[in-house]
């Protein structure tokens, strides 16, 4: 992140009556960063985005955009532009007029305006479609018009409110790739609101995961996936096998726990972590468990039996019951060796790496102390 953040959110809260849509949120987003606000619906991510755009005024706190105090600045005077969830293409204007809409107020000369419109259309690969009507556009094309209409204003920050949620899966994946390369080409800050964890992981430089109006964790995609700080964050970002483990030793930077059948496991301890009652929650991702075939051996093994099997084409999801564990384990196997043919009830051995376990706070409060 640059020295001075492009967006600085300081202790922002937004109440609707007694309901806290945003609860003391602080966040800094750097220049040129692709930043995602990720969370379930109602977590406050859209309210936060709309506060940055100027469509919602926080009850308290301050928002700075490029160093300028902007909390009360109206939307039409902010250096931000937004791509709306439903794209909000002006239905009475054609593509070119839609893209030129904001430029009209700048009173550019006609040649300059035309050049900027056609540059913007090139950028989103809609070259030559300026005369198309709004009702003649496909979903993907509308999305591109909305992007061009915002980018043509040369904003310092582009805000994207679930821009891909209306597209079908194939198109969504294609647009994800394009969105990422577009951001790298224009080099400005993108803030994306999404409830799709894979979209956030694939696109972002950093992600803020939000629950109940609060930010649970801010980190790079890799960090947040591999080292989620709380049980909720871990659960929201992909699958996770949770385990209640007895605390054996609580040292300065790490802990040792008794993880039932997994034996004694050492884990790094995040700052501010406190174990309440001598037990902690630990987790291991399904893909970090691996089936052992024939007489293959591993330093850390467990035996169990297949309780359920779901075939996903390139991988198979297995649910494995292990004696002595309260919950069955879920794991993901590639189909190279025939995991897709394992019958329910089959006895299997699996390998795990004790270093793959993460220590998870049971709720955000446990980390705030």
């Amino acid at each position: 992140m640059a020295d001075r953040p492009m967006i600085s959110i300081e202790n922002v809260s937004r109440y609707y009556g007694v309901y806290k849509a945003l609860d003391d949120v602080s966040l800094q987003i750097g220049e040129g960063e692709f930043f995602s606000l990720l969370g379930p619906s109602g977590c406050g991510k859209t309210t936060l985005l709309r506060s940055i755009a100027g469509f919602d005024v926080p009850t308290s706190g301050e928002i700075r955009i490029d160093g300028v105090a902007s909390t009360l600045l109206p939307a039409n005077r902010r250096p931000t532009n937004m791509v709306f969830q439903n794209y909000a293409i002006f239905p009475h204007l054609d593509v070119g007029e839609n893209v030129a809409y904001g430029l009209k107020r700048l009173r550019l000369d006609a040649t300059e305006e035309r050049r900027r419109v056609s540059d913007a259309l090139d950028q989103v690969r809609l070259t030559g479609l300026d005369r198309r009507k709004a009702d003649e556009l496909s979903g993907g094309q509308r999305q591109r018009v909305a992007l061009a209409r915002a980018l043509v204003m040369r904003p310092k920050v582009l805000l994207l409110d679930e821009p891909l949620s209306a597209l079908d899966k194939k198109l969504r994946e294609q647009m994800q790739v394009e969105l990422r390369s577009l951001q790298q080409a224009v080099g400005i800050t993108f803030i994306l609101v999404t409830h799709d964890q894979y979209e956030a992981l694939a696109l972002s430089d950093r992600i803020a995961v939000m629950f109940g109006g609060r930010i649970a964790q801010v980190a790079t995609p890799k960090e947040i996936y591999q080292h989620p700080r709380t049980r909720k964050v871990a659960d929201f970002l992909g699958g996770m096998n949770f385990l209640r483990a007895r605390l054996l030793a609580d040292r300065k930077g790490d802990v040792s726990v008794d993880a039932a059948q997994f034996g004694t496991v050492n884990l790094a301890k995040p700052a501010g972590f406190t174990a309440s009652d001598g037990h902690v929650t630990v987790g291991i991702r399904p893909e970090r468990l691996r089936l052992l075939w024939d007489d293959e051996r591993a330093p850390h093994e467990l035996t169990g039996r297949v309780e359920n099997r779901a075939y996903f084409g390139e991988v198979t999801h297995l649910t494995i019951g292990v004696d002595g564990l309260e919950q069955p384990l879920s794991m993901i196997e590639t189909n190279d060796y025939g995991a897709d043919d394992l019958p329910v009830g089959a006895e299997i051995r699996l390998a795990y790496d004790p270093d793959a376990f993460v220590l998870l706070a049971d709720d955000e409060m446990a980390l705030r102390a």
């Binding site: 709004a134 979903g139 509308r142």
Partner: protein
Amino acid sequence: MLQRIRFLPFLPVYVAIYFLFLYLPILLLPVLSFNDAATTTFPLAGFTTKWYASLWGNSVLLQAARNSLIVGVCVSLLSTILGICAARAITRYRFRGQRAAGGLIMAPLFLPEIIVAVSLLMIALQFGLQLSLVTVILGQVVFCIPYSMSVLVSGFEGFDRSLEEASYDLGETAFGTFRRVTLPVVAPAIVSSLLVTFTISLDEFILAFFLSGTEPTLPVYIWGQLRFAAKLPGVLALGSLMILASVVLLTVAEVLRRRAERRTQAALAH
């Protein structure tokens, strides 16, 4: 899935009779208005346009036409303006009593018009209001708002708030947003409402009859003429012109309403 219709041979006959019953009397009107005879009887005597020509020389009729025009324009403007406010409130906001308010606005459609006319007349007299075109206008507005509302609500329904937000976001002011986005998008619905209410006002008789005093509108004038058999062909010519005007206005209104609906729906991604 469409159900296969049985008894197929009877249906076209039924439909033909139905439409004959509905439209034959109305079609007779223009036919007879070109008939070169003082009585409205068959067989037709010959073609003439003299009944139409006679309309132009009739100053009482022209005055009634002018009254109708004044009332029509005022009623369509007033009920459309009030309809815009109501339709925007109903489609944009959620408030207590919203359903009740919507129902009460639509209710005049189902009230017996003559009863409302009598009660309006009583109130007008009670308050010492002189019966004039003004009282006709006020009475007709009550009956036109439901029509205006239903046309406007269908035009506004698809108008998404994000269109206005997108305009602010692109640097436009509140007034500029209204001028460049809100108005153009809902304009067809507004014009359609103006045309529909004008047409209704033009044809409305009961309220005009009770509330117009000494200033008759066209329907009231026609009613007065029916006492004189000799005036009947002229009335037929006038009636034909009014039907033509109504059909044209309503067709334009419906075309505009559909365009408005398509437009607002096209604005949304799904």
